[in-house]
Amino acid sequence: MAKIIVVTSGKGGVGKTTTSAAIGTGLALRGFKTVVIDFDVGLRNLDLIMGCERRVVYDFVNVINKEANLNQALIKDKRTPGLYILPASQTRDKDALTMEGVQTVLDNLAKDFEYIICDSPAGIEQGAQMALYFADEAIVVTNPEVSSVRDSDRILGILQSKSLKAEQGGTVKEHLLLTRYNPERVAAAEMLSVADVEDILAVPLLGVIPESDAVLKASNQGAPVILDHESEAGQAYLDAVSRLLGEEVEHRFLEVQKKGFLKRLLGGKK
């Protein structure tokens, strides 16, 4: 049975698409056949971050409207075996996705894939609700600031009241992913700490992804940051994937780096 995981946040620009690309790639690297679906109709970002924008011919909406079949629309990732992308369309309006259409596509994907990652659009309205409706699990992406945490709280409420799982009396499994974490700014009390966010949201912590220039570099190159093993962000995403698979891994990159002798000698890398 395929597991459907939605990557959601409420607030925009917190790192959902970056996370969807990284986690999807990470699961495929671990040998699971994985598809990442871009639910952000009208914006289309995932294919850019995954570096496959030039290979988009048909998209999610074409499949729903039966203008193309699933195999025509699915893009096979060039770098990572077992990884596929179902892109969003750039031109259509937000109402192009229908509940029945989404369900049919997910049902068909579930026959073939082990993980289905749904990259949600921002907000808590229809688009975001569509992306989370069929989810078994949710990765709630949060930045360490009050407005982002509040939005995550709202989306958690929607998750447990307006998803299919909730309607059937069950629960969607929750994971908290804190991204763009900057220990210096936490120490300076300019940002909430991991403990603050955990205290407010009370959701198990899947990972903490540090703020890192490697993320921008990766998305400019169209290669998910998890492939950059040198970067802290890449390593933190690898850890998060391990935790998602049930492994116990200690959290890293939470403290301000004391620049040691060797680090200084080598110039230290971000």
Binding site: R150, D153, R154, L156, G157, Q160, S161, A202
Partner: protein, 229 residues
């Protein structure tokens, strides 16, 4: 064999108690009207017990009739007088009301009253999941027990008491149908607002006492009290 016509049961009735201090006709009516206008929902058809123990001087029986008439006109249901002096007993009977002794004899006597409204047993509502921002939970006709957090931006309401075992960061309103005996109990007080029977206080006031501590909230007269647990 004849069928049993009735069964006697003990019960407690929620009623408003009016402590009458003094009386002058126009003034009483105006003040009562003003009071009711502050919470019409709460007072509507509420059973009323008139407590005369604090009355200053001697209440004349015609004034008592006027008090009762005003109460009835304004939608209350006066059902008994408490601590009535000897000379009023006849008048009270004529008004179709019962006499209650002065001290706290509530357990022994109330069952004998003409019961205006019998409460059914409350089935407490228990919720184990957190109540998140934007969500609302209402326990109608019952108490509400919340096992996890109530987030900022969430709202929990009950006709009865509210118990919160996680942090209370949102809004909690107990006794929303006017039960002034309703209370709020929480393990960690960080609420945006707490309210009992329509009276409320806000976050700024709450920060002065028991902030982030175990606390209970109850009504004393018209004033919301917060006390450590």
């Amino acid at each position: 064999m004849t069928d049993v016509c009735f069964q006697m049961k003990g019960t407690a009735v929620t009623a408003v108690v009016m402590d009458l201090y003094n009386y002058s006709s126009g003034v009483f009516y105006e003040q009562l009207k003003q009071k009711i206008d502050t919470a019409p929902h709460f007072f509507n058809a509420s059973p009323l017990v008139l407590n005369l123990s604090s009355y200053d001087g001697l209440l004349q029986s015609e004034h008592l009739s006027q008090v009762v008439a005003s109460c009835r006109e304004l939608g209350l249901q006066p059902m008994a007088c408490k601590a009535a002096p000897e000379h009023l007993l006849g008048a009270i009977k004529k008004l179709g009301m019962a006499c209650l002794p002065a001290s706290n004899a509530r357990t022994t006597k109330i069952e004998a009253e003409p019961v205006a409204q019998v409460e059914s047993p409350r089935a407490t509502k228990i919720i184990t999941r957190p109540i998140r921002s934007g969500q609302q939970v209402y326990a109608e006709g019952s108490d509400l027990i919340l096992m996890a957090a109530v987030s900022e931006g969430a709202e929990v309401l009950a006709d009865g008491h509210i118990h919160v075992y996680g942090p209370l960061r949102g809004r909690a309103l107990a006794g929303v149908k006017g039960d002034t005996d309703a209370r709020i109990f929480c393990r960690q007080m960080e609420a945006e607002l707490v309210s009992i029977a329509g009276y409320f206080i806000l976050n700024d006031k709450l920060r002065e006492q028991c902030w982030k501590q175990p606390a209970q909230v109850y009504l004393e007269g018209e004033s919301i009290q917060v006390a450590a647990l």
